[in-house]
Structure formats: C-alpha cells, structure tokens
Symmetry: C2
Subunit: 356 residues, 2 copies
C-alpha cells in the first residue's frame, strides 16, 4: 500500500497543527533542503503547452528520495468554476523505485509558496518590517498573509485586487487574524496599497507582461516578494525596478528563473543571487536599510520535494490504514505478476465452502 493524502486528509493535517505552525515547520524543511543544494538533481520542468494552459511535471531527487509534482496552469478555469492551478505529487524511494506517498499538492503548493516567501523575506526584508501590501487577493493570498504575520511579525496588511470580490473573500477569511491583532486595510489602488508598506507581495494571475508595480511606487528599503511573474510572457514588475542601482534580486534556481521569472525582462548577464547562498550566509540578503530587495520567485521542484517529505512524516505520525491506496501490487513472488489474475487458493476454498 502507498500512503495517500487526499483533500480531506490534508484539511485534517493542517487543521490539526494550525496553518501558521504548518507553514513554519514546512519552511524549516525547505530551508534545510536549500542548504544542501548540491545534493540535488535539479532538472528543468517538462511542460506541454496548449492554447488555454500548460501541464507540467517537476521532478527532483537527492539520490535517496525522488519527488515529482504534476501541476497545471489554466487562467480561464475560474470562469467555469475550476481552479487555475491544481497539483498532486509523489515521493518515491530511489533505492527500490517504489512510490511511498501520493499526495494532493494544490493546497500544499499554496502553503509551501508562502513558506518559501517568508523564508526569503526573513533574510531580505528590513528587520522590524510591520506593513505588508498584498497585490492580488486570489487563491494564494491568505497563506502569504498567515506566513508573514506568523514568521515576520507583520501587523498591518493593505489589500488590493482589480476584482473586488476577491478582496471581499480575503477580508472574510482574515477575520480570525483580525482578532489576533492584524490590521486589515482595504485599498482602492495598488498605489494606495503600497504607500507606507515595508514589504510588497505581488501575486496576480494575468498571463501577460503587466506593470503591476511601476517605478514611482517603490521606496528605498522596501522588500518585493514577486510571485506572479512565473512563466515566459508573464511578469508583474516594470523592468526599471529591477534595473535600479540600489536593487538586489534573489532567485531560486537561476537557469529556470532566467526563463520564467521577472528577470526574463533583463539581459542574460543581469546579476542575481540564488536563494541557497542567502540562506547559507554565503551572500547577504540585504546590505543596508535603504536597499530595495526583490525575491523573484517562480516556484522550484525542490520546494515540493521538501513538502512531500514533510507531509509523509506528519501523515505517518497518526495515520490509519484508510489513508492508503493500492497503487502498487504486493506479490509473494515478484516474478509472478500474472498471479494477480489467478484467484488465490484460499479464495477458491472460501467460495467452495459457501456452495457446500
């Protein structure tokens, strides 16, 4: 049997720990894996594009465990009541090739993205950052806010989305964090939302080269957590922001980010720093209080690897047999695959007994 985490199960696992603790523990796993960066087989993702979307396979392995994620991106899905992004994945044992865990990754992707954002911001944002602007109030926004509230001590969020219904939804979901002291400010424009912010998170959905953030909105010392520019032709930041002499750009995996990230707008020799070096201390996250720091995040297979390993551990702490699926045969003689199609002797006996 292969361990299985479906939607019902992930809901229970996150509820059992609370989303904030879940994200923080996950961030610990992701950080630990980024710190052993050279242990990983880092492949580019495999993508099949259609006119309406993309389906990707994202594999990663450290030589002991192997993980892949299946993920789609279909911006028009919401118009028919479906999610833009769904995902699932598998963790396997490299020594036998057997799958260990099959898990939903739709919810988990939102949690691991928030964890990675907070990890980067902890090294890159000014200490004592208290105000977060949230540009794009869709499926990922709550998770980002929980992570920044819990892991960075954010005390005020300033919300803007071109879709007012999305902001309504986000405000409703933040009710509990308001009780915990978070100030929630609804804004009528991106400019209003970012005014006075220490950190700006952009997570908008349009698949085009957009200018969500314009140069005049950026003040010295801000940290930009740029999530929505994550595939060719999809960016959120005006290129002049990236080109500021006082800006520092950090990416997850440089070869992938050159194609998919905000830096697709920049020349191939545009200087970037990989997150692993910032986390290890080999490179600074921020040099001084006035620097504009930019985490140009596109999502990397290593983060899903870490998430699947973490999920398997918390799942096995308290799983019953029902959270498994019979995805792989169990045979007395592994060369006798055909035995699956032959009734077992005791089954024959049992049936004969029933007739007697």
């Amino acid at each position: 049997m292969v361990d299985f985490i479906g939607i019902e199960r992930i809901q229970a696992l996150v509820a059992g720990r609370g989303a904030a603790r879940f994200i923080e523990e996950l961030a610990g796993e992701i950080e630990a894996d980024f710190l052993r960066w050279d242990s990983f087989d880092k492949s580019a993702r495999h993508a099949i594009h259609s006119p309406v979307g993309v389906i990707e396979l994202m594999p990663a392995s450290d030589g002991r465990l192997y993980a892949f994620k299946y993920v789609n991106g279909h911006p028009k899905n919401t118009s028919v009541g479906l999610l833009t992004v769904t995902a699932f994945g598998v963790l396997a044992d490299v020594s036998t090739g057997y799958p260990l865990l099959l898990s939903e990754l739709t919810l988990t992707t939102a949690l691991r993205t928030a964890a990675t954002s907070a990890l980067a911001a902890r090294r890159m944002a000014r200490p004592n950052s208290r105000v977060l602007a949230m540009i794009g109030n869709g499926a990922q926004s709550e998770f980002q806010i929980i992570a920044f509230h819990h892991m960075l001590g954010i005390r005020e969020v300033r919300l803007f989305d071109t879709d007012a219904a999305a902001t309504d939804k986000l405000e409703g979901n933040l009710a509990l964090l308001r009780l915990a002291g978070l100030r929630v400010v609804r804004c009528v424009s991106t400019a209003e939302a970012v005014a006075g912010a220490d950190i700006i998170t952009t997570v908008t959905a349009d698949k085009r080269n957009a200018t969500i953030l314009a140069p005049h909105m950026i003040r010295p010392g801000m940290h930009l957590n740029a999530l929505g520019g994550d595939c060719p032709g999809k960016t959120e930041l005006h290129r002049e922001i990236l080109a500021r002499p006082d800006a520092r750009v950090v990416v997850e995996f440089e070869p992938q980010s050159r194609i998919e990230g905000e830096i697709q707008q920049m020349p191939a020799d545009f200087a970037v720093t990989e997150l692993t070096r910032v986390l290890s201390g080999a490179a600074p996250g921020r040099l001084h209080a006035d620097e504009v720091t930019i985490f140009d995040s596109v999502g990397f297979a290593l983060e899903d690897f870490s998430a699947l390993r973490y999920l398997l551990r918390v799942h096995q702490e308290e799983r019953g047999l029902k959270h498994q699926v019979d995805l792989v045969p169990e045979l007395d003689d592994p060369k006798n695959l055909f035995a699956l199609l032959v009734p077992k002797p005791r089954e024959v006996t049992a049936r004969a007994g029933a007739h007697a």
Copy 2:
C-alpha cells in the same frame, strides 16, 4: 473526485473481460492511436538514474488528453521480494488541466506491451505462424503468450529461462491455456526453444549487452519480438542478426529506439521503419516469406496514453463512487482555496446545535 484504478480494481476489470479480450481491445486502442501518429506531442522520457535503477516519467498528449506514466526499473528488486518494474499513471484533460484518472500501470504495462507485440506480429510474422519460443519466463511472459495465442493463433509455446523457477511458475500459470489446446514445451536451452519456432519473443531482465539470440539460431522467415533490450547498455540480439541483408527492423519511435533499443548497436543511419507506417500500410510489415522480421520494442508513452484512455472507459462503464480519490479540491469559489481550511457554515451550525 478523480477516478481511481488500484490493484483490486484492475484485477476486477481484467477478470470481468478475461485477459485475452482485454488485451485485444487494448490493442485496438493502441492501433487507433498509432494511426494518428502526427496528432501527438511525442516527448523523450525524463529519467533519473541511480547506481541501482532508474525512475522515469513518460508524458504524451494529443492536444485533447494528456497522459503520463511513472515507471521504475530496478533489476535487483526481486532479490528482496519486490518487483523489478512498477508503474502508475494519470490521464488528464488538456482544456482544464484537471486529472481524470489515476491508475496503477504495473499490470497494465504488461498487458499493453503484450497488445503492442501482438499488433506488430500480426503485420510482420508469417501468416499461419503457430509456434512461439518464449525466452525469458518472468513477469511479462504469460501476457505475451495469451496475446499471441488469442490474436495470432499460436498453438505451441517453447519455454526457456536461465532461472528454472521462473519456468515452473510460467508452466503453472499456463494450465488453463493448455486446457484450451495450447501445447507447452519446456526446453533446456535457448537453442532448443527456438528450433522450429515461427516467432521468438525475448524478454530477459539482465541489464547488459547480452547475446540471448546468436546468429546461428535464426532461420529465414522467423519473426523476432525483441522486448528486453530497452535501455542504453541493455540488449539481447547479436548485432549480426540485425545486420542480416534479409532482415527488416521495425521500431516504435525512432529517436527513442536509437538510444534504448537493439539498434543502439548499429550506426545512426541503420535503416528502420516506424510501427505507425506498418500499421497504416505505408510500409510493408514483411516483404516475403523468407524475410527475418524484427520488432525492436522498447515501450513508448503513446501505448500508455492509449491504455489509460481505454481503462477510463471500461472503469466508467460500471464504477461505483468508491473507486475515486479526492486528489483535487472542489470549491464553490475557485479563488477561495483557503475555504478548505475554514469549517463550513452548516458544520458550525450542526456543532452549535449539538451544544444546545
């Protein structure tokens, strides 16, 4: 919910139709897809190798459906009671990116390989072929024999394996086909097994450049169904057999077979014919009765695509709700992923009611 075919379910589906009919119907699906060869996005597989094995992802899409297979190959697994090859796969809707079916593919791979072998042999072997030599009596051998008995009218099988226990197992599993008139002859060597055979199937497991078939064993008019040479460094046929002036070699997908098939032993310009052309009639399967025809089969993602589509159809003919898994969230508002972590109003009400 996503349709799910686990081991218990595939056993029921194959038993319900009988393996012979299941393979024949599957062969029909595979043939139909090979006949629209140009409709497919044909990718190379993605492989991660370790000292003890390989884990591969094999994607394929026709623009309407997308399929991928996860498959491992670990030759030493049998020594610890595990299968050399396990597999599972997913069929998805290209227009939404949503998965439609998650299925075991370990058993299914053996069935689809047998179906593909029989499809090729029907065009390539001499009509009235009656005697099949089966070299390698492991996990796939029964499926091959059922397919050739049912789809080609084979009346005698001649068995050989270096592992006598494997042949014992195969003989036992063939009891029912014996009752159906199949003659089963156990041989002490490959040479004895192939003597007088019309068709030779080689499906041995050693990962090396082996000489399972030597030049002197091959008689004019034979059809060779060479399955075991399927990755770099793993071949079964002496290269002189391939180089015979009276030999014709058919492969599934030429770029992949040049790397993985028997023809990895031959120069890059060695002439081969793709199976699609033989099935469509664009190229002959056999020119004359004395030709030596060779199907150098490595397994191609298109065959798994066909198998997953076929499985979804037979599964849905008679599935109940229990053969589904909650792999993907279902949301009232697709932008409100966070709703998964918020108890629903009626649950709150119900709980409040319980307290009252």
